[in-house]
């Protein structure tokens, strides 16, 4: 199908995905994320997200953010799902560097990765040019969905696209050198950053570990090609967008294996005459069933991916 159509369906999907109702606010909820930056590499920290789907319990803190020591403060990669999250983050990182955050980079146009931007509006906020365009176009519909899923956790949050287009290749951000790789597949445009000093690859949502990959705006073929490129980097460690820090390369291999399984399952399903409700009963290999956010993400992927695969597989009948 056309990219236009995929994009449109993808964003409807984002607007329609749901597990929790916003009305259910728990009496005990104080809307505190309790963010704990922890050391990842020398001069690098991470804030690790839950491996679940968005819920009123986790407030949308399902994403990994990275902090790297820059010359004048901390370089923050991805800003979390909400204003509350980013305000907490801004305070908690002063324990690492009193000067706080000096620059921000967004990996891609998904709300859990950039909806904290407004808290850092006085700093440079970088993203790939195409990601900025997408954020301008789709910020409001993502915002509606996030308020619906997360209710009061989202209070005061207004989507703010990056303010500066990031160059690709070798770039320097607040005195720190990175290799900026413009890739795609998880969304239409995905940034991966290789930190020159430590060899850490910040993969954004091109890599997941022990958490089911989200395919809302995915193109499986492009995504696999991006994973091949990332594998060739032989990074010292990989920070996936969701899941624990990966020191063995497992996140790239696991993400690739899962995407292959989706492709195979949906292709075989289409060639057996199955429809989407039948596919919900697909037996899932244990290693994929054990991932966080299953079977929700698998069920969502049926909606995202199956109609186009089926259209491709079924023969013309007139």
């Amino acid at each position: 199908m056309t990219p236009t159509r995929r994009t449109a369906l993808g964003f409807m999907a984002a607007a329609a995905g749901s597990v929790a109702l916003p009305g259910r606010v728990f009496a005990s909820a104080k809307f505190k994320y309790d963010l704990q930056p922890k050391p990842a590499m020398s001069g690098v920290w991470m804030i690790e997200g839950a491996t679940d789907y968005f819920s009123m319990q986790n407030g949308g803190a399902i994403v990994n953010c990275a902090l790297l020591q820059g010359e004048t403060g901390l370089i923050l990669i991805d800003t979390g799902p909400s204003r509350r999250y980013a305000e907490e983050l801004r305070l908690s990182v002063q324990a690492l560097d009193l000067r706080g955050v000096s620059a921000v980079v967004n990996t891609h146009n998904h709300p859990d990765h950039y909806f904290g931007n407004q808290v850092f509006a006085d700093k440079p906020i970088y993203g790939l040019g195409e990601m900025i365009e997408l954020a301008i176009t789709h910020g409001d519909s993502f915002s509606n969905n996030m308020y619906r899923l997360l209710g009061d956790w989202m209070r005061g949050t207004e989507p703010m696209p990056p303010t500066a287009a990031l160059a690709t290749g070798e770039v320097t951000i607040d005195g720190r050198k990175f290799l900026a790789l413009p890739l795609a597949g998880h969304t239409e445009t995905d940034l991966a950053l290789l930190d020159t000093e430590t060899g850490l690859l910040i993969a954004g949502d091109l890599a997941f570990l022990d958490r089911a990959p989200a395919t809302t705006n995915a193109n499986l073929e492009t995504w696999q090609a991006a994973l091949t490129e990332l594998q060739a980097l032989n990074a010292a460690a990989i920070l996936p967008g969701h899941g624990p820090l990966d020191r063995s390369g497992a996140s790239l291999a696991q993400t690739s294996a899962y995407l292959s399984w989706l492709e195979t399952t949906f292709t075989e399903g289409a060639n057996s005459g199955l429809d989407m409700v039948d596919l919900m009963d697909s037996p899932m290999p244990a290693e994929f069933a054990a991932m966080g956010a299953q079977p929700e993400e698998f069920h969502r992927s049926i909606s995202h991916l199956f109609p186009d695969i089926e259209r491709r597989e079924l023969p013309r009948a007139n």
């Binding site: 159509r5 369906l9 329609a16 597990v19 619906r148 009948a317």
Partner: protein, 260 residues
């Protein structure tokens, strides 16, 4: 769309007894939607012989990931002599999704539809003796699927594909699946008139009808159906014939493994 919603809501707050017709058989709605009594009169014609029946299985995901393409399976194979299956939502600008006349096929159908809001989904099954059996499920949704213009309009080649059919038969499992390219515009979006396939007939090679579907506005863009046959009685091929409300003919032939 607003006026449709208001019309439906205003009915919801008026007791059914004040309407033109009294409910002949009051049921205890397992989903307690507040709208079922109204549909029992308007959609089913207020039958006396009617009950909710667990043998009518209605399956869907708990929430609609894509409001334009919500998958649904209706299975009334636990009931004998089914003549008609009416698939509908309780809440939505147009409640009636389709009516399936299974004929020589099994009383079981897979389909996709556009959802407008969280709602109970019903499959009302009529047997040859005139008794009605209703199955239900519920789907959560953010809304917007019905009133939004068809996605195909975003690309410029939809007219080239109008009426294209993809599909085939699987004789071993008794499945017949097809996708028909069509915008299926509801007429609810500003400036876009109703443009839908009205009916699809399924015939065997000698021209006798085996089953047919009457489609309504909420059926998804590029309608996709699975029909089910007893594998022992599976026709070797299945002719598809239909037309839309602008008079475009739809025709194709589904074949099985050996004929491909």
């Amino acid at each position: 769309m607003l006026k449709f919603v208001l019309a439906v809501l205003s009915v919801a707050v008026v007791p059914v007894s004040l309407g033109a017709e009294e409910l002949r058989t009051q049921l205890d709605d397992p989903y307690d939607s507040g709208m079922w009594d109204y549909h029992q009169i308007e959609l089913l014609g207020n039958p006396k012989d009617i009950r909710f029946d667990d043998r009518v299985i209605v399956r869907a995901p708990a929430s609609a990931e894509d409001a334009f393409n919500v998958p649904l399976m209706v299975d009334a194979t636990g009931i004998d002599n089914v003549e008609e299956i009416i698939v509908s939502v309780d809440y939505g600008p147009i409640p009636h999704i389709l009516t399936y006349y299974p004929g020589a096929a099994e009383p079981k159908l897979e389909l996709r539809f556009k959802i407008d809001q969280a709602t109970a989904i019903r499959a009302s099954v009529r047997t040859s003796s005139g008794s009605w059996h209703v199955g239900s499920t519920r789907i959560d949704a953010a809304g917007g699927g019905c009133a939004a213009p068809a996605q195909a309009y975003a690309s410029d080649d939809w007219e080239d594909h109008l009426g294209e059919i993809n599909g085939r038969l699987w004789t071993a499992s008794g499945r017949a699946r097809l996708i028909v390219d069509h915008p299926m515009d509801t007429g609810l979006a500003d400036g876009i008139p109703v443009f839908i396939i009205k009916e699809l007939h399924f015939l065997n090679d000698d021209g006798s009808e085996l089953a047919h579907i009457d489609l309504k506005e909420p059926v998804n863009e590029d309608p996709a159906f699975t029909l089910f046959f007893d594998p022992d009685d599976m026709p070797a091929l299945l002719h598809v014939q239909g037309r839309d409300n602008n008079g475009n003919e739809i025709a194709g032939t589904l074949t099985g493994e050996a004929l491909n």
